[in-house]
């Protein structure tokens, strides 16, 4: 298991989840949890995914998913779960 957090923030529009999920599916990344809300027109999503079965390097995935975000006009960030774990859990 390679648990990774994906955050998507930006102006809401049609097809954000669809496009992000398509990218993940094409790269063998399994979604474990999705949490999404719209606050004052702003799209806010956090996904927990497992990137272990992806053939691509983590750094390549980070760059590619950022590009998916650029196409959608939203900011997408992919980070290993550990950084949040160490900061918020003892």
């Amino acid at each position: 298991m390679n648990r990774t957090i994906i955050t998507v923030i930006g102006k809401d529009r049609v097809g954000i989840i669809a496009k992000v999920c398509t990218y993940l599916a094409e790269n063998g990344i399994n979604i474990l949890d999705i949490n999404q809300s719209i606050v004052q027109g702003f799209f806010n999503m956090m996904m927990i995914v497992d990137a272990q079965n992806s053939e691509k390097d983590f750094s390549v995935l980070c760059e590619e998913i950022e590009k998916v975000g650029d196409e959608l006009g939203v900011k997408i960030k992919m980070q290993h779960e550990d950084i949040f774990d160490v900061m918020h859990r003892i």
């Binding site: 957090i5 955050t7 949890d33 949490n35 806010n44 956090m46 927990i48 983590f58 750094s59 980070c62 760059e63 960030k77 992919m78 980070q79 290993h80 779960e81 550990d82 950084i83 949040f84 774990d85 160490v86 900061m87 918020h88």
Partner: protein, 454 residues
């Protein structure tokens, strides 16, 4: 499981409050490079550094992407060169040749600074160590990325006043040799008392002789994060204030620990320590001065400044020490003038003087750091300022350091621009009364009575 609120808090720290890992510094021992021939030693040094640290920058970038946190600097520190050069360096030029080799190695592996062109002379200087100190001005003027430091005192040994006199002259000469670039060589030269062996921060980093062959030390940062956290408890009592700083320092240090362990694993190099320091940069909001002002001071330098800094430093340590099992280096708040916009503003407003900065160094790491002074300052005056700061370190059993820049051709009221991480600085006024007779005495100030603990 991690929730959205926590993810957002972490990313806000990174994106809005300049949370970063300030440096991954790889310590490399050069003791096995010793020979009696300058050319051979240079070859050996170059090969060892470029081999051991070949992947340092690449791994740093990988970790940055993996966790989404900037790692600002990747650096290398080496064994104090005076130790490894003692058997082969007979002239200043020999030492300068080693400095150039270090510079070349730094360029090859892509690190922005390499530290360790250093001498540890807290009790006395060997002829070779003296030679290295004398070669420092030229070595720093002729290289770009080499940093140098000299440890002239410690609580255990007292202060070597012959070395203090010599480094005063060294600083002046370095300033003159780089007069066309704001006397920049002085920004790469630090004088220490009680220098730590495992400090990851430049310009004072070197790989101590007590260390293993290679090691990874990490310096965390995050003044902006601390400032934002305490702005949320505006007006609360000291208990709440301290608790807030402590919690924030804990979170910041945990990230440093994660990065350090990951770097250690990927490079196959043992993890040494985390340096819990609040290191400012010239970026807006990345300032230690602003933290002190957020606590309720109009400007840094106002009465209460030393107390505010003392509590900040202590809470950062208390929070950090629980977050990592191995802490070391300098660990505290840095108060460089040029690298901190809030400090610069306080100097320009007339709130902050050299004397107040000296008082502040009694309660924090590290010392009189990146302070620009008039270019016509006498070497003996610089030695006097260094002696004062060394005495504070010696008596208080703490690390103190001095990085003064007598900017050639400039006087109080002028400004000097260094660029990049080093920022810019207003020239500060200094006390002009003479101390040359004191400095000229020569010899050694004995160790203080409380050093005898055996």
């Amino acid at each position: 499981m991690i929730n959205m609120f926590e993810v957002r808090e972490t990313n806000k720290m990174i994106e809005e409050n300049n949370l970063d890992v300030r440096t991954i510094t790889m310590g490399i021992s050069l003791l096995d490079c010793c020979t009696d021939n300058v050319k051979t030693i240079c070859d050996k040094i170059y090969h060892k550094i470029t081999e051991k640290a070949a992947k340092l920058v690449e791994v740093g970038k990988e970790i940055e992407l993996e966790f989404g946190i900037p790692i600002v600097n990747k650096r290398v520190s080496v064994t104090p060169v005076a130790l490894i050069g003692s058997s082969c360096c007979k002239t200043k030029e020999d030492y300068i040749e080693i400095a150039k080799t270090l510079d070349r190695a730094a360029h090859t592996i892509g690190v922005n600074f390499i530290g360790g062109f250093s001498a540890l002379v807290s009790k006395g200087m060997t002829p070779s160590e003296k030679l290295l100190i004398e070669s420092v001005p030229e070595a720093l003027a002729q290289t770009e990325r080499v940093c140098s430091s000299v440890n002239v005192g410690s609580t255990k040994t007292g202060i070597d006043m012959d070395a203090v006199k010599l480094v005063g002259e060294t600083v002046c000469k370095a300033a003159e040799l780089t007069k066309d670039s704001g006397s920049i060589a002085c920004a790469k030269f630090v004088v220490f008392c009680n220098a730590p062996d495992d400090n990851p921060f430049m310009a004072g980093a070197f790989h101590g002789v007590t260390e293993g062959d290679t090691i990874i030390n990490v310096g965390v940062s995050g003044p902006g994060v601390v400032k934002r956290a305490i702005s949320e408890v505006h007006g609360a009592d000291f208990g709440t204030l301290c608790e807030t700083i402590k919690k924030t320092a804990f979170k910041v240090t945990r990230v440093g620990q994660l990065v350090a362990l990951e770097a250690s694993k990927k490079l196959g190099v043992p993890f040494g320590i985390i340096d819990l320091s609040l290191a400012p940069t010239p970026a807006i909001g990345d300032s230690v001065a602003e933290i002190l002002q957020e606590m309720g001071l109009e400007r840094v330098g106002a009465p209460g400044t030393t107390a505010a800094l003392a509590l900040l430093n202590d809470q950062v340590k208390k929070g950090g020490i629980m977050a990592s099992s191995y802490v070391g280096g300098l660990s505290g708040a840095f108060i460089p003038v040029s690298e901190d916009q809030g400090m610069i503003d306080s100097v320009n407003a007339g709130a902050l003087t050299l004397e107040k900065l000296e008082a502040m160094t009694c309660v924090c790491s590290v010392g009189l750091d990146m302070i620009a002074i008039p270019g016509d300052t006498k070497p003996s005056t610089i030695s006097g300022i260094i002696a004062d700061e060394m005495a504070i370190g010696m008596i208080n059993q703490k690390t103190t350091a001095v990085r003064l820049i007598p900017v050639y051709g400039k006087d109080v009221g002028d400004t000097v621009e260094f660029g990049g991480l080093l920022g810019y600085a207003p020239i500060m006024n200094i006390n002009r009364f003479d101390c040359s007779e004191f400095v000229e005495r020569g010899g050694r100030i004995p160790a203080p009575v409380h050093s005898f603990k055996n």
